[in-house]
Amino acid sequence: MPDIRIRNFAGRINSPNPFWLASAPPTNTGEMIMRAFDAGWGGAVWKTIGEPITNVSSRYSATDWNGQRIMGFNNIELISDRSIEINLREMTEVKKRYPQHAVIASLMVASNRETWHDIVGRAEDAGADGLELNFGCPHGMSERGMGSAVGQVPEYAQMITEWVKEKARTPVLVKLTPNISDIRTVARAAKRGGADGLSAINTINSITGIDLDTLTPRPNVDGKSSHGGYCGPAVKPIALNMVQQIMADPEAALPLSGIGGIASWRDAAEFILLGCGTVQVCTAAMHYGYRIVEDMAEGLDNWMRSKGFASIEDFRGLSLPRVTEWKHLNLNYKIVARIDEQKCIGCDLCHIACWDGAHQCIHLDRVTGPVDGHVELHPTPAAKEAESRASIAETPVSRKEREAAAHGPYPTPLARIPRVDETECVGCNLCSLVCPVDQCITMVRVDTGMPPETWDERTRGSACAVQPQS
């Protein structure tokens, strides 16, 4: 049976599983965190502690897409609005009752050495298993010289990390902001400053949308808004890329707690495959509640079982070597699209996508007779559509007419099943991505008869020859 316990993460942090709640509203109080632990979360990063702030209302906004709520989520809430004393007193209580769970104190205070020393000491005295330095908050706090104002300047990040390390007895994680051109610069600075681990990514600067009646961006605070921090499922690809960048860079790589749009065990597995030791979740818990962790833990366990992984370390980072620079990809690898006639429902989205968004090689000519070759040989989508709009259709009113309207051998009429011109197909994947039917369009490897060759290999010999004169 797979073991998903986390031991000695970033040095000395243990937790029953890799699923932590990120520093955010779900970890606002001790009461909430204890309920989260009861629900199955392995750890929690406390809502950032510092000098209490005053929040505004409203604070959140979201991007819905195609009927789905909260594809992306945005907030302009600041750090904890409760006093340092109350937060730390509750932390002591939580650790006393849940000694096996990871409780991380997220900290953000003014940028001077004594203030940091003071808060580090108090948080550790309260029982924190580790510290997370919030160098990422992109709104409000950054205007006051904290949060991402620190995280965007490698020198500041290194300096404060060094101050904290002077005092800290527990592992120190630095939480990175993605609002920077290369996240590795700050990750390297944190590592130089002595950090034991990293958390990435924090939220991304965002304006989610504008109310088209009032012309006020969301969230609306008395007729005005302010940029917020974007998170939720929409940011996962951005987070994965940054995680890969950090973990593939020897000067930056540290034990990493992955954050960014994680909502299921699948997401978690992907972050771990790129090297993360734990993952942090916020938006999904805010959307559906703490209970989502049940399936995350079970699902990961079942997937590990099916893959034969005994522990998290067994598969952590396994996908890292499979990300490379473009110049190292095999130029002679070729795949083409194949459409399964038995599964095709005839929506023809692959046809229009290929014509208007790709390489004009999916045609509707199974009835008129296949024509392979250049685009000029085929009727355009507009011509196809005009033809069918010009046809005369009638309501089949009699039984005989209704029976005559029934289809032939395939579930979809042949005229609507598209055909791929494999000589022109470039194997881009677009059709298989727009197809609404699982496994209807598959990308199949074809032998080019050529040995693997990368761009790097192809140009290495000639690189010197074509070097321009300066």
Partner: protein, 442 residues
């Protein structure tokens, strides 16, 4: 003309409450989001008016309701009534590709209605070219869907169109003949009002029943579009058909929709098994008749009604008497009727009575519903307009008849199909008239 309306009747509204409730705004968006947005969509191809279905649905999803309604009206000026009366199971929704994925088809009719209700609710009317910007005058004879569509298209493109209707309300079967729980007469009239506001002229209570009347039309108008519909309902051809208490299905439907019949009681026998027979039988139930029989000389697999109509009738409590043929209608002398019937069996292609199976049904009303008869005599007298098997012979793509000044569309050409078919025919004729006139001018 002032707007034609009917008085509101709360009892009628209650008894014929709509079969399908409208979608709420959020439900409409959720449903619209389910649409795959197929290329060259099969739903659009299946629609006789080729409404750009994914086009109007995606406008609902984006919150562009006005654009959605315009998209519908571009293709089908009666988009509002078609959303209510179309047999979508055998048209757009039947063609939805989601069937092949074992998923429920998109509720196209309800979405179309959502967009059209929003349009009508906004109080906006369609803009058209200035009147007579095209010097072309067309008379549309008959005030039903075919003529409405023809006239509206002509007006949209700047020609002059006049609808000539023998009854006192416009809309044809949309107003007088569609079951009230599908399309309220008031909604049909609201739609006609939109067409009137486009500048289409209406003349009511005007029958064209003589060659002289036709000649008068010919001298007033450049072209004449015939949207005459079908003739009166066919008679059963049995003794006693003129007894009090016998009224055909279209008479019954028109009478309750216009408030002339508000209640029915006792036993009603509807003879026939088409969609109109079912409308009449359901109406009798809703008007209060305790027992309603639908009597058909063949079996349930032979009935011409759509499957969903048959299912609906069963749910309304209509009872079916299969393979039974009416022989005669008699008065029982106490204000009720006796309908003599006999069981029949099909041998090869003929129906033979089964001896000894005769019985008389005690009833209060007999409703013949065995189809509409071919056109009135007049048409056959028109010079150069062929009539074959009761239908006007016209080119499918243009509605052109043998007489170059006469065009035709709708039931009088196709023998009796749906509103949407009539709209398509009327519109095709309008486009052909415009093109012919343009060529003639050039």
């Amino acid at each position: 003309m002032s707007s034609a309306t009917l008085p509101d009747d709360p009892q009628l509204r209650e008894r014929f409450s709509e079969l399908k409730p409208a979608l709420t705004a959020q439900a409409a968006v959720i449903e619209a989001d389910r649409c795959l947005n197929c290329f060259d969509a099969p739903c659009t191809a299946a629609c006789p008016t080729h409404i750009d279905v994914p086009g109007f649905i995606k406008r609902i999803a984006s919150g562009n309701l006005r654009g959605s309604a315009m998209r519908i009206l571009d293709a089908n000026i009666l988009g509002s009534s078609c959303a209510r009366v179309c047999p979508v199971d055998v048209l757009c929704e039947g063609a939805c590709v989601l069937h092949r994925q074992n998923r429920k088809p998109i509720q196209i009719a309800l979405l179309q209605r959502h967009a059209m209700d929003a349009f009508h609710g906004s109080g906006e009317f369609l803009q058209t070219q200035p009147a007579a910007s095209v010097s072309l005058r067309v008379a549309c004879v008959g005030g039903g869907p075919a003529s409405l569509a023809c006239a509206a298209e002509l007006r949209r493109q700047g020609a002059h169109a006049t609808i000539i209707e023998r009854r006192s309300l416009p809309g044809g079967l949309n107003t007088y003949g569609v079951a009230e729980y599908k399309l309220r007469a008031a909604d049909s009239l609201r739609e006609v009002e939109m067409i009137r506001r486009m500048g289409v002229e209406f003349r009511f209570d005007e029958s064209i029943e003589s060659v002289a009347a036709l000649e008068a039309l010919e001298s007033e108008f450049d072209y004449i579009f015939l949207g005459l519909g079908l003739g009166a309902m066919q008679r059963l051809g049995i003794p006693g058909e003129d007894e009090a208490g016998v009224m055909n299905a279209l008479e019954l439907i028109a009478a309750y929709k216009t408030g002339h019949i508000r209640e029915m009681h006792g036993t009603v026998v509807v003879v026939g098994a088409g969609n109109t027979a079912i409308d009449a039988a359901n109406a009798a139930r809703r008007l209060g008749a305790e027992t309603v029989y639908l009597l058909y000389r063949r079996g349930e697999n032979d009935m011409s009604a759509f499957d969903f109509e048959y299912e609906h009738a069963k749910q309304e409590g209509v009872q079916f008497l299969w393979r039974r043929q009416p022989l005669a209608i008699r008065s029982d002398g106490h204000g009720r009727l006796l309908l003599d019937t006999v069981q029949v069996q099909q041998v090869d292609q003929t129906l033979l009575p089964i001896p000894g199976s005769e019985f008389a049904i005690d009833c209060d009303v007999v409703v013949p519903a065995i189809g509409q008869s071919p056109l009135a005599q007049l048409i056959q007298e028109l010079r150069g307009v062929d009539v074959r098997e009761g239908r006007i012979v016209a080119d499918r793509a243009t509605g052109k008849t043998g007489n170059p000044r006469y065009y035709a569309g709708g039931d009088c050409v196709n023998g009796g199909r749906e509103v949407v078919d009539a709209v398509a025919g009327g519109k095709r004729a309008a486009l052909a008239i415009l093109k012919t006139a343009e060529v003639a001018r050039a």
